[in-house]
Each structure stands twice: as structure tokens, then as C-alpha cells.
């Protein structure tokens, strides 16, 4: 056999991806740490109203990011807002993964018309705008972050199912699966024991990217007023409140906007970096 040496293994790209991983992890780590810190400490009570301190500009003494129209500290609000951002991410991604992975795996294992039916159904759901679904569900139930995020999670199910199916099909073709089938292992056992561990890296990457999308969706829904409800702070709602004041107090829009952008960027970089770090095809010099 010839020595299996990849011909164009670009080292610069690898190093660049390594940077992605580190920067992404740092940003995500900061957001998580901030959210955790907000449980025990914020500079001020994020909901405390103070008429005297209303609309302080950024970099004011004691209020580094200024205050809003009700005199609430923007930094404290952002810190607590990180909690809802992460909460919605976890909720939506959990729903998407818990439903999408079994569905995708089932489709891959069954093949034939069952697979076609499942995947076409996924296409139909996929074709439906996620945010619109959330609005409908909220209208039917009650405004709040819970129902909205369930709708977002369900909307992401087809994405996870597709990725799971594609990756599973590749693994199911390998001989160790044939071996397992030959001594009578059931399809579900094979999926859990053999397929899942081998596609975990792909799923982790996908989950990270969906996490970023869910945070964006939460911001969008809260901006529309049907996401996180007052008095719980949320980055999206802070943006909405800042809308009318954007000429007098641009900081009110800038800070939460930057928080959203940075967090989404962080998760995307992390996903990109993980994709490379977990990709066994790029493991060189290991044998």
C-alpha cells in the first residue's frame, strides 16, 4: 500500500483554525462566567429604578456603560441578560438534539420509503421560518421565552436530523456495523453504541452553531416584544427599549448589540474550531 499522505494538508489553515478555537472558547467562556457571576453579584440591582440617574452616558463614574431611561444600570442588565441568552440556547438546542438525533438516526437505519417520508417531512418543517413559528406559538399560548424557544427548538429539529442522517449513513456503511449486525445486534443498539460515538464530533459542532442561532432568535423575538418578558432583562429587549432613544443615548443600543454580536461570533468560532479539532481526518503524525 502506498503511504497515506494527504497531498494538500494546509498547515496555515490548521493554525488559523486553532486560533478560532481559542478565541471562540475565550468569548463563550466569558459569557458563561458573566452569566454565572450575575447570580451572586452585579454592580447594581438590574431592575432598580432611579429617576436621578436616568440616561447617564457611557463611561460615567459608577456606571461604565451608562444607564437607561429609568436609571437602570446597563452593565448589570447585560450581565443578567447573558443568563437568558444562554438559557434559551440550552433549551432550544436540547429540544433540537433530543428530537433530531433519534429521527435522523431512525431515517438512516431504515432507508427506503420510511427514510424518504421522514426526510421530506423534515424538509417541510425546515421550509417554515423559525421565527414565524415562534410568533404563532406565542400567540396561541402566552408571550414568554419558554414557548418561543420550544418553537425555535422544533424548527431546528430538521437541521439536526439531516446532519445526523448524513453522518450516520457514512458510519453505517463501515464493516464494524456489518459485523455487529451479523451477530444480531439490534438497529437501536448499533445506533447508540457504534454510530453515536462516531458522529458525536459532527453533532457537537452543529449544536454550537445552532446555539448561536438560538441566541439571535431570542434577541429577535424579544426585540419584537414576544420573547423574554419584563422585568427579566434580555439583550434583545434592551435593544428594543433603546430604539426610540438611539439619537440621545446611542450607548443603550451599542452595548447590547455588541453583546449579541460578540456572543454569536464566539459560538460560531468555537464551532468552526471544534470542527477542525475533532475531525479525525486532519489528525496527522499519529500512527
Amino acid at each position: 500500500m502506498s503511504d497515506q499522505v494527504p497531498l494538500q494538508l494546509d498547515h496555515r489553515r490548521r493554525r488559523w483554525r486553532r486560533t478560532n478555537l481559542v478565541v471562540g472558547a475565550l468569548i463563550v467562556g466569558t459569557v458563561v462566567a458573566t452569566a454565572l457571576l450575575s447570580f451572586v453579584w452585579t454592580p447594581y440591582d438590574p431592575t432598580a429604578i432611579s429617576g436621578a440617574d436616568a440616561l447617564l452616558p457611557s463611561w460615567s463614574p459608577g456606571h461604565p456603560m451608562g444607564t437607561d431611561a429609568f436609571g437602570r444600570d446597563v452593565l448589570s442588565q447585560l450581565m443578567v441578560g447573558a443568563r437568558s441568552a444562554l438559557f434559551v440556547g440550552v433549551l432550544a438546542v436540547s429540544i433540537a438534539v433530543l428530537i433530531g438525533v433519534p429521527v435522523g438516526g431512525f431515517a438512516a437505519a431504515r432507508r427506503g420509503w420510511v427514510e424518504d417520508a421522514v426526510m421530506r417531512l423534515a424538509d417541510v418543517i425546515y421550509a417554515f421560518p423559525a421565527v414565524l413559528g415562534a410568533i404563532l406559538l406565542v400567540a396561541a399560548l402566552e408571550p414568554g421565552i419558554g414557548p418561543a424557544m420550544i418553537a425555535i427548538g422544533v424548527a431546528y429539529v430538521p437541521i439536526v436530523a439531516r446532519v445526523t442522517r448524513g453522518a450516520s449513513l457514512r458510519v453505517l456503511e463501515l464493516d464494524f456495523v456489518t459485523a455487529a449486525r451479523s451477530y444480531g445486534r439490534t438497529p437501536s443498539f448499533i445506533f447508540i453504541r457504534h454510530v453515536l460515538p462516531n458522529i458525536a464530533s459532527v453533532l457537537i459542532v452543529q449544536a454550537t452553531v445552532l446555539f448561536a442561532l438560538a441566541i439571535l432568535a431570542e434577541a429577535a423575538l424579544s426585540f419584537l416584544g414576544i420573547g423574554t418578558q419584563p422585568p427579566d432583562p434580555s439583550w434583545g429587549r434592551s435593544l428594543r427599549d433603546a430604539q426610540t432613544l438611539v439619537r440621545i443615548a446611542p450607548g443603550l443600543a451599542l452595548w447590547p448589540g455588541a453583546a449579541i454580536a460578540l456572543t454569536v461570533l464566539g459560538f460560531n468560532l468555537l464551532g468552526d474550531g471544534l470542527r477542525d479539532a475533532l475531525d479525525p481526518r486532519l489528525e496527522v503524525d499519529r500512527s
Partner: protein
């Protein structure tokens, strides 16, 4: 003496971590010479080729000097090297499907080299491409220039690769395992053609392969690499006839008898008739193909066409045939992974044993047959757990590792920590775990190096004796089948064209197709 075309001096390739992969290799190639570079996987033969082309991966460091026609390739920048590649030196890769661009018509791919390096106008280049394809033996070259790679067979694709390689009339063609991915009958034709083309153009050829008989027919000189060092060199004939280096001797001795020039081994006794283990009666398997257009008719492919044969208890039955002949489908049906469309498979020798335990399989690809995320203990114990076999699993696994000559501490390791040969032995241990009576081995040594292949075959032979196994041995490699099998069946397009004692069938075939196969076996000359 004229100056050599290519001179490689003290080429050393190391990894970043300081592991030496190629160690001080020096050789020269004369104009128009044909040289074989042989060695097993990991011996550094492909890396040497890549170094000549300046295509080494970034994470490897090369030192030494490579001069082509008096120009130092090692000191050239990427741009200058690009002009050399394809124009002065070109390469033929092992796998034509991946080496060709799947979305580009083959004519354009061949013409590309001419346009790029020669500045030939595109229209003219396309005409030349058609002519080149004709020269390398592509059927209907005028029509084929408009084909895409997937529309061609493996052999035809490899011919296209060779047409690309010789398009610009290079001084040197490097062919890295150019025929390994092809069927035997095609292999010989493609290699002859390559050999003829380079000779006609007095181009030098560097043929890289692990297959000694292949080298012996196509080259004048040979270089033997082992673990990055050049251990022997000389005229091919001399090296193979009287190897001086012990490693070369091992390689030469590993060549199976059928690939040797004279039938040195004596007649084998007729295999004894034994009570049947399994009988196949008029077995047929059709696959329904997907529709080519919506609502169109669904064609079916007959993979196995009315096959009947029996395997005796304790016998090793060889099933040979080229790719697509239905060998693997037969194996899958015996394993119960697939059912015949019609016909019957009857097990006679299993008694009341569970067939899922009593019939076990060994696969071709030692990479794909072990779950990369499982430890060896779990891999080998899996059939025991799946079949609910009682007893001390760890003890059984260790016993099996002993049987396949692997250390017991292998249990805690993962598959990627083992070489291909070791992984194949792990796969064999797993197959033996549930005390099988029958082993179905589908190309068990095809992915292995010559010497490893030999050791694996010996091991299989030992285990067969020790455990009284019946074996179905599937292979495209006739010399291997001849070596290990008692009886053999020859498959062609899903039909069993010939059957009988291995020695008789493979030495004095009575069917035309079997004769073609046997004649295509590369032999040491």
C-alpha cells in the same frame, strides 16, 4: 557516462517531532530508464516521490538535494516547481477516481496540461487530448473526451490519468501504485501500456509499488526501501534472483508460488471429500436499481446468478473473481446479512448451534472493521455480549489475543494505535470469540503489505487447524487463493464458471475466463 536525469542525494524527511521517515536516500535515474521503487507501507516510498515533486505536506521537513536535468528542485520556489510538475515530471496516482476532477470532462482535464504548460490553443489541445486518449487505449477516444470520470471504468480512468501524465512529453513519469486499485486482468494491460508509452517517448519511469511481480516485468532496475533507508539496489533481474539484503530476501520469499516463473512446488494431493458444511442450491440475488428518471422503469442487477456449490466441513473454499463478480454478495448471504431472491442455502454442519455465533466474518479493510471509539477489550468481547455467551469475558479476550499473537495489554488500547496487520489480527480474534465453526473471510489480506500478508495467512492457517474451522476465503488475488485453499470456485458476472481443486483449477484452468485470470497474474521474471 552522461549526466543523470534525476539525482536524489541524501534525501532525509523528518516530522516536526523529529521522527525520521526517510533517511539519507540517494539514487540516480538515467534518461529513459525504468526503475522500480519497492517497499512496504511506511517505508517512505511515496514520501520520496512527493519530495521529488515538491509536494510534501507542510508539517514534514525535507533535507538533501534533488536535481532534475541539472536544475536543483530543492531550491525552487512554488512557482518554478509548478512549471516543472506536469511538464518535466508528472505523476500517476493510485486511485484514479479521486485523482481526476469528477465535474470536469476527461478531455478537458487532459487538454488542461497542454494549455497550461505548452500554451497550446484550447481547440487544438482538445484534439491532441483525443489523440492521446487513443494512444493510451481508451475506447472510442473521440467520444470519450466528453465523458466524465464516473462514466468510465477504473481501468479506463487510469488510462486517462496516464494520458494526462504523458501529455506534455515529460522527462520523468512517477507512477505510485498505478494498478493497485484495478482488477488483475486490467492491471496487466494498463501496466504494459504505461511501460510501452514511456519507452516510445524515451521517458524515465519511476514505478512505486509493494508488488514485486509487478515491478519485475516493467522495470530494468529496482530500489528497495525499508523504514526510510535504501537497503538494496541493482538490476531487477539480479535483485530478485539473488537478493543480498535479508529484507529483500524476505520480500522475494513472500511471493506466492503461483507468481513464480517455474511451478517449483510439487503436485498437491487431491483434496479429500468431506461431509458438507453448507450447500448453496441455485442461489440467485437480484438488486432492484433506483429509477433513472421519475416514473421510469426500475432495472434490476443480477449480482449472483444461479450459483450452486457446497463447502465441506473443515475445508477452505476459495471464491475468486474480479470486482462486481458477486463474491461479497455470496458472503453476505452466508452471513445472513442478505437473503437470496431465489434458491436455498442449507447449513448441514452446524448442528443446533446458533448460526449467528457459529458463522463469523473477517473483513477486508482493517480500518473500517473495528469501531474507532471502542477499546480492544470491548471490540473483541462484543460478539460474546451480543450473543449472551456466559463466562469470563476478559479471560476469553486475553486467550484470543494470545491466539493471534498480540500482547495482552492491547485490551486497553484503541484501534488507531495498531498497524493494519495488527488490526486485522484483532478482527480475527473478534471473529473467533464466539467459538465459530465457519469463518467467512472477505479479502482478508488484500489491504496488507506482502510480508504482513504472509504472516496473516500463516496465522489463519494455524487457527484453522487449531479450531477445526471451515473457511470461505474470498479474494481477487489468485496466488493467495492458490496458497490457502483446498477447493476454489471462479465467479464471473455472478455466475460460477469453474469449480474444483485449487491447484488443478489455477494451474490448468479449463474455462477461457479462468485462463485469462491466471495469465494476468504478474510473475517474477
Amino acid at each position: 557516462m552522461t549526466s543523470p536525469l534525476l539525482a536524489v542525494e541524501d534525501l532525509t524527511i523528518t516530522t516536526r517531532r523529529g521522527r525520521t521517515l526517510v533517511d539519507g536516500v540517494s539514487f540516480e535515474l538515467a534518461r529513459g530508464s525504468r526503475t522500480g521503487l519497492i517497499g512496504e507501507s511506511g517505508s517512505g516510498k511515496s514520501l520520496t516521490a512527493l519530495a521529488i515533486l515538491g509536494l510534501l505536506p507542510d508539517n514534514l521537513h525535507a533535507s538533501g538535494a534533488i536535481t532534475l536535468d541539472g536544475r536543483a528542485l530543492t531550491s525552487m520556489d512554488d512557482r518554478a516547481l509548478c512549471a516543472v510538475r506536469g511538464n518535466d515530471v508528472s505523476m500517476v496516482f493510485q486511485e484514479p477516481m479521486t485523482a481526476l476532477n469528477p465535474v470536469m470532462r476527461v478531455g478537458n482535464q487532459v487538454a488542461e496540461a497542454l494549455v497550461r504548460h505548452r500554451g497550446t490553443p484550447r481547440g487544438e489541445a482538445l484534439d491532441m487530448a483525443a489523440e492521446l486518449l487513443g494512444r493510451v487505449g481508451v475506447d472510442e477516444p473521440g467520444r470519450r473526451v466528453r465523458s466524465f470520470p464516473h462514466e468510465m471504468s477504473g481501468g479506463q480512468r487510469q488510462r486517462v490519468m496516464i494520458a494526462m501524465a504523458i501529455a506534455c512529453g515529460p522527462d520523468l513519469v512517477i507512477a505510485d501504485e498505478p494498478t493497485t486499485a484495478l482488477d488483475v486482468t486490467v492491471q496487466a494491460k494498463v501496466l504494459d501500456m504505461l511501460s510501452e508509452q514511456v519507452r516510445a517517448a524515451s521517458t524515465a519511469l519511476l514505478l512505486i509499488t509493494h508488488d514485486l511481480p509487478l515491478v519485475s516485468g516493467a522495470t530494468d532496475d529496482v530500489l528497495v526501501l525499508r523504514e526510510g533507508r535504501l537497503v538494496e539496489r541493482g538490476p531487477t533481474r539480479r535483485v530478485f534472483a539473488e537478493p543480498t539484503n535479508p529484507h529483500t530476501r524476505t520480500l522475494v520469499e513472500a511471493v506466492p508460488p503461483l507468481s513464480r516463473p517455474s511451478a517449483a512446488t510439487g503436485e498437491r494431493p487431491e483434496p479429500a471429500t468431506r461431509p458438507p458444511m453448507v450447500a448453496l442450491e441455485s442461489v440467485r440475488r437480484e438488486f432492484r436499481l433506483p429509477r433513472t428518471r421519475p416514473l421510469g422503469p426500475r432495472d434490476s442487477l443480477v449480482a449472483v446468478d444461479d450459483i450452486s456449490f457446497r463447502i465441506g466441513s473443515g475445508e477452505t473454499y476459495g471464491l475468486v473473481g474480479e470486482s462486481g463478480s458477486g463474491k461479497t454478495t455470496v458472503a453476505r448471504m452466508l452471513m445472513g446479512l442478505d437473503t437470496p431472491t431465489s434458491g436455498r442455502i442449507t447449513w448441514h454442519g452446524l448442528g443446533d448451534a446458533d448460526p449467528r455465533a457459529a458463522v463469523q466474518m473477517v473483513f477486508q479493510d482493517p480500518m473500517g472493521s473495528l469501531d474507532p471509539r471502542m477499546r480492544i477489550l470491548d471490540v473483541v468481547a462484543e460478539p460474546l455480549r451480543a450473543l449472551g455467551i456466559q463466562g469470563d469475558q476478559r479471560a476469553r479476550v486475553e486467550e484470543l489475543l494470545d491466539a493471534v499473537h498480540l500482547p495482552r495489554d492491547a485490551t486497553t488500547k484503541y484501534p488507531h494505535e495498531f498497524s493494519g496487520g495488527e488490526r486485522q489480527r484483532i478482527a480475527i480474534a473478534r471473529a473467533l470469540a464466539p467459538h465459530p465453526k465457519v469463518l467467512v473471510a472477505d479479502e482478508p489480506v488484500s489491504a496488507l503489505d506482502m510480508s504482513v500478508r504472509e504472516r496473516t495467512l500463516t496465522l489463519l492457517g494455524e487457527l484453522r487447524e487449531e479450531f477445526g474451522l471451515t473457511m470461505l476465503f474470498i479474494s481477487h488475488d489468485l496466488s493467495v487463493v492458490h496458497e490457502v485453499c483446498d477447493r476454489v470456485g471462479v465467479l464471473h458476472h455472478g455466475r460460477l464458471v469453474e469449480e474444483g481443486p485449487a491447484d488443478a483449477v489455477l494451474r490448468t484452468p479449463s474455462e477461457a475466463y479462468t485462463r485469462t485470470l491466471v495469465e494476468a497474474i504478474p510473475r517474477l521474471s
